[in-house]
């Protein structure tokens, strides 16, 4: 039936369907911004409107920052995610290099354990790791948030696969120059692996910035809260009364990653779907 104008009809249908879906995807974001911009009286009215009659975003943001130490929580998020990533690289890169380029007894066993480790969901080890941290008195600290994630078997696997593609000649040339094996990891392999490390970094930072389960378990003190914990606590203490500031707080918490994502979409999508190339 659409033979007369096959291309325009299909193209229009494509956009209509995609825009309808996009509206559904964006609805929570739009509603969040809209609510964060409304004064209390407009939020608690059964008449729906998207654009506030009276613009109150600044008031809501101010109240959110006054009720919760959001800056501190954002800083905690940065401290924790950056520490985790740096330590993951420091642990994983040397191991990945050895697994990819050196021969030693037990190499295949170790690699098999790495592959096995990837299958273990993080919730599975939570109880023993919690008990361990309790035993050594590290609960409720930055260390409790960071230490369990310093080992990323997925990171080792990923970097090992990448190092496999680095030519042996490069490594041999470095050895001729008298660079130690340790030096090769940081001065030869790391520079060659920057794209892979970046992708892994995005994967790691996004995962730990958004993580709720582990901080919930090990933290008690308010000043150590990570962004997701902060939102949850804000919601528990304010729910039902001040949705405007709550939505403003949610906006602040998701803003850093969403803005970074909009600036470097391709890299972010690559990084987060890393698990897709396993």
């Amino acid at each position: 039936m659409s033979n007369a104008h096959p291309i325009p009809f299909r193209a229009i249908l494509r956009h209509v369907l995609l825009i309808a879906g996009a509206a559904l995807m964006l609805a929570p974001f739009i509603w969040m911004i809209s609510t964060a911009s409304k004064p209390q009286t407009e939020i608690f009215s059964s008449e729906l409107h998207l654009i506030p009659h009276q613009f109150a975003l600044m008031e809501n943001l101010r109240e959110a920052f006054a009720k919760a130490n959001l800056l501190r929580f954002l800083l905690n998020g940065i401290i924790v995610t950056v520490s985790i990533f740096v330590l993951q690289v420091m642990v994983a890169l040397p191991a990945a290099y050895a697994l990819a380029k050196l021969r030693f007894l037990g190499r295949e066993t170790l690699f098999a354990l790495v592959l096995f480790g990837i299958l273990i969901p993080p919730q599975a080890t939570a109880i023993p790791v919690f008990l361990l941290l309790h035993k050594i008195g590290l609960l409720d600290s930055y260390a409790a948030l960071v230490l369990p994630f310093t080992i990323s078997v997925f990171g080792i696997f990923l970097m090992r696969q990448f190092f496999k593609t680095v030519p042996d000649d490069l490594v041999d040339a470095a050895r001729m120059d008298g660079i130690s094996e340790f030096g090769i990891v940081w001065r030869v392999m790391l520079p060659a692996a920057i794209p892979a490390v970046t992708a892994f970094g995005i994967f790691s930072v996004v995962a730990h910035w958004n993580d709720y389960f582990w901080p919930l378990i090990v933290l008690n003190s308010e000043h150590l809260r990570t962004p997701p914990l902060a939102v949850a606590h804000f919601r528990n203490s304010e729910a039902g009364t001040s949705y405007g500031p709550l939505m403003a707080a949610a906006m602040v918490i998701i803003a850093p990653l969403v803005i970074a994502f909009l600036f470097a979409q391709r890299r972010f999508i690559e990084g987060i779907t890393l698990t897709g190339i396993k």
């Binding site: 509603w31 919730q123 230490l147 080992i151 094996e181 729910a239 990653l257």
Partner: protein, 315 residues
């Protein structure tokens, strides 16, 4: 000269034979190798493999955090668990969540990927929009969803009323709460699946479509059925399994929005494990729940590798 040809067989061979082929400084390099892997191996043991063994061992004890001693009690935790109605409710809810979210997020992800790929304009804009929920902190967005689902002032009920339809107390009603959480789960997972399908679609060779067309497959549906669907096989398997594993882990939305309620209608495995292990500190009992959870997750992984072995492969 020293690498590349190493196989699993070579690793099992006695070291004497390999060492002979290495240059004189080979043993120093071996020492370096051990030094390089030691931190990773040690941490893996302490933070991953040890705790994994630990959780299984704990599930056979009556250990409680802070208790002065504990005893081996064999299968008693599992007996208690299987006799507990709440456990079965949690398992049933988790399975229901998985059975709703996986097809929902996989089919929607595939449909969006096909739609995006079927034209050339605005591709990256659409991709960005659909991927946005994957990026946004789920806890923050869950709180937004909660307000959207507010019985009185929420967007969803407002629109339903506007259309003359009945409104619901979504998260406060035991007959709708789990479905509301499923909707949030699908909303959050669709973009991730879409990106994996897009990557799969791009890798299908153009010639296959041309060949199918010559063979008379002219309609879009025929091309999908004859080329796209079979060629996406491995990607689809992967997406289904990874969606399944992620859905089994559902916790964030439950904990912040419903705490498993109303009347256990949204109680799920990891939430039970959390309350038993970290609120009541019944470590042994919580470990038994974890083991049940692990069995399901590993089962899914096993199915995936079975399917992967059956001739579906990447190009």
């Amino acid at each position: 000269m020293s690498d590349g040809s190493m196989t699993i067989g070579a690793a099992v061979a006695p070291t004497g034979t390999t060492r002979r082929t290495l240059p004189a400084h080979g043993s120093r390099r071996t020492h370096a190798a051990y030094a390089l892997v030691t931190p990773a191996a040690a941490l893996m043991l302490v933070m991953l493999l040890g705790p994994l063994a630990g959780v299984i061992a704990l599930s056979f004890t009556d250990y409680q955090l802070g208790a002065p001693q504990f005893a081996w009690i064999g299968l008693a935790n599992y007996q208690d668990l299987f006799a507990d109605k709440v456990f079965w409710t949690a398992l049933r809810n988790t399975l229901a969540y998985v059975v709703i979210v996986v097809p929902g997020a996989v089919i929607a992800g595939l449909a969006i990927a096909l739609l995006i790929q079927s034209g050339t304009s605005l591709r990256s804009l659409y991709r960005t929009i659909y991927f946005l929920p994957v990026m946004a902190t789920l806890i923050a967005m869950a709180v937004v969803w909660e307000f959207m689902l507010h019985p009185q002032f929420g967007l969803v009920n407002g629109m339903l009323r506007g259309a003359g339809l009945p409104a619901f107390a979504w998260l406060q009603d035991r007959s709708t709460a789990l479905y509301a959480l499923c909707a949030i789960g699908i909303w959050q997972a669709v973009g991730f699946n879409m990106v994996l399908f897009l990557a799969g679609l791009v890798s299908i060779p153009k010639q296959l479509y041309e060949a199918a067309e010559i063979d008379g497959a002219s309609s879009g549906w025929a091309r999908f059925r004859l080329v796209t669907w079979p060629m996406l096989g491995p990607v689809t398997t992967f997406v289904v399994v990874i969606s399944g594993i992620r859905s089994f882990q559902v916790f964030d939305t439950v904990h912040v929005l419903t705490k498993g309620g109303p009347s256990k209608s949204t109680e799920v495995l990891i939430h039970s494990m959390y309350t038993e292990g970290f609120e009541f500190f019944r470590s042994g009992y919580a470990a038994a729940i974890t083991v049940v959870f692990l069995v399901f997750v590993l089962l899914l992984t096993l199915i995936k590798s079975r399917l992967a072995d059956r001739g579906v492969h990447y190009t």
